[in-house]
Symmetry: C2
Subunit: 393 residues, 2 copies
């Protein structure tokens, strides 16, 4: 049996992950997963769960009791949000400003929601007035209004000011995707009035993919308790998960222990850095990357005012072969950047500055590799200048 | 901020995991997760996905194209099975011989299935005649018949001979939970005629919890393609997941990369050992544990003929405090065993012999600790005798 030959175990190459996620993961987080596995009801593990939940409340800016990592990737967070809070026949408004907004509409409709989509052009943000008008014109009230705060397909950061007031005045729950925001820019669940919010670990939290940080407030929990029908998803039923993560420790499913070690270590690193310092670092990295790309003569898709700190979309220059450039970056330079999705396929690259990638050195590396591949100059220089002079000075 | 003090990072104790899972995980599997994170569309990662799918087909005994690990724990496998194959209004028969069968009935009903439950007493297996009669008496045909092959709440291995013929003659799909069987005893998907089967990583595969190995055959896929309504779960919609794990590599969600490294390494270890050798090892460990427990004067719940190789249920002796004994094993000996669930709570312990735990040394350790705690003798001696003499001889 050839498989018993240790030589064929594939070598895993070291990549610089500068795409839309997963982002680079530090050795301390990766090694956390190598620690001994504990039982999911072991007091030593329960202590780590409590620690993780506390850290998550801090990152989410919330006092929500129901704050936990779901046992699936960020998309499982979306699934849990709609499975628990979109009830069959309920009217739902989904703002779709990119692929992940469209997905949210799809997922809500699959739960039996009667979904209206408020389309926003790719690369733009929703204007609060648009939402106000749409809500005012609704023939029947919406039970849920859902949107993506950090749209990974376009690189747009949705300004949140005033949105929750509009949604709550309408009488709806506000359900928000913060996958690409959390840990890289403010997600203030309590202050921003987010009723249900989900995120992922593999972006600005700098933890491998596999968990979905999740939080829901009391208004959302009240609705959950009053559901006339059970949540269709046994696995993601938050009324049961709450009983495991809460004081009761009621067994639901076997928690992904090793992934939770990784999240705990990732969150400890963030606590040591501080959120404000971390957000500033992401903002600087994004600015340096943007300055570098523009110095090379490339055009950014998104206005600086609504550009994500964690992901920059840039137009692929005329005549340049998308796949060839990304292949060269990966194979010759060991650097991953992302291609475009949907209408942006072949037209746009997506370059991440997430977590460990939100520093000058990785930004300079991706710019340098792009310069060499595209035969352009000026990118690294501009990035260094934007960062504030020579590094190491 | 106290959290920045590295001293308070909790030490993770080394436990010997002899409960119902998670089971002990080797250092090579744990260290696999510490490897550099790859992007979910990186060719180097796609190669690992192909390797994992091939290994899983081998462990499942199937040529099913749709064979993959779902991005969630074993319970996500159950969820996927019912979300994709139990359609609203369809009649479903679930055999419930324990908690996990009851759960399957609950999950199927949440999907809108009209669920009949064939109750089997806890600690017993279904008799094929019972199923035959029940199917013959069905006022309307069932679309799905579901059962748990290895019932983790009772320690019973369901004999599978003839069951799929009965189900298929009835015209139903056969949906099977193999969570606690896979890797420890034969799960022959093709030969046993299982249409949809799900498993978990944290039992006899000896990989941390977090993935659900899954396989579905062509008959199941035909039904999936003909569904009049979309699968309610976007996250677990196998028609989309198939497009990522198949040749198309269509992006669905970001795979839990590090967990898949662990599964790849765990499956490589199993390939090197060989399935027959591994099953024989589990059978021996179970026999040694059973002999040891009986030599101590304890009574086993399940007849040897239908006893799982991976999990032994034993009655708690009269007058013995369940929680105190388990607490002492954990705190004084670092050994985890499981308590009873449902009607077995406080009446039964569940002792695993799964994966790395299915060896004489860990079996002797748990027996020795039980002897010391319960003030009994003879257990270790009987286990060693059953194993075939002094170890190391």
């Amino acid at each position: 049996m050839a498989l018993s030959d240790p030589k064929i175990i594939p070598n895993i190459p070291e990549r610089l992950l500068m795409g839309p996620g997963p982002s680079p993961v530090s050795s301390s987080v990766r090694l956390a997963m190598a620690q001994p596995v504990l039982g999911h009801l072991d007091p030593a593990f329960l202590a780590i769960m409590d620690e993780v939940a506390d850290h998550l409340r801090w990152v989410f800016g919330t006092e929500n009791r129901l704050t936990l990592p779901l046992s699936g990737t960020g998309s499982a967070g979306m699934e849990a949000a709609v499975a628990n809070w979109v009830q069959p026949g309920q009217r739902v408004l989904v703002v779709a400003a990119g692929l992940f907004g469209q997905r949210l509409a799809d997922a809500a409709a699959r739960q039996g929601g009667v979904v209206d989509v408020l389309e926003v052009p790719w690369g733009s943000a929703l204007d609060a007035e648009q939402l106000k008008d749409r809500l005012a014109q609704a023939p029947e009230p919406y039970a849920v209004v859902a949107l993506v705060m950090a749209e990974t397909s376009t690189g747009v950061l949705q300004p949140m000011d005033g949105l929750s007031d509009l949604v709550h005045r309408h009488g709806a729950l506000f359900l928000v995707d913060a996958v690409t925001a959390i840990g890289g820019m403010p997600v203030d669940v309590d202050r921003q009035g987010l009723d249900v919010v989900y995120a992922g670990t593999q972006k600005c939290l700098a933890v491998p993919p596999g968990l979905a940080p999740f939080s829901a407030g009391e208004a959302a929990l009240d609705i959950l308790r009053q559901r006339p029908s059970p949540v269709p998803s046994w696995y993601l039923d938050l009324s049961m998960l709450e009983r495991y993560w809460g004081g009761e420790r009621f067994y639901h499913h076997t928690a992904p222990v090793s992934m939770i070690y990784a999240l705990a270590e990732g969150l400890r690193r963030i606590r040591r850095e501080g959120l404000d310092a971390r957000f500033a670092r992401h903002r600087r990295a994004s600015a340096a990357l943007g300055a570098g790309l523009q110095a090379m003569g490339l055009s950014l898709v998104v206005d600086a005012a609504v550009r994500l700190f964690s992901l920059t979309t840039v137009y692929i220059p005329e005549g340049v072969d998308d796949a060839a450039v990304r292949g060269r970056l990966l194979n010759d330079f060991g650097i991953e950047i992302g291609g475009g999705l949907g209408p942006f396929r072949g037209r746009v690259w997506r370059i991440g500055t997430m977590g460990e990638g939100a520093q000058l050195e990785p930004v300079a590396r991706v710019l340098s590799a792009l310069e060499a591949t595209l035969h352009r100059t000026g990118g690294v220089e501009a990035a260094v200048a934007s960062w504030g002079g020579a590094s190491g000075a």
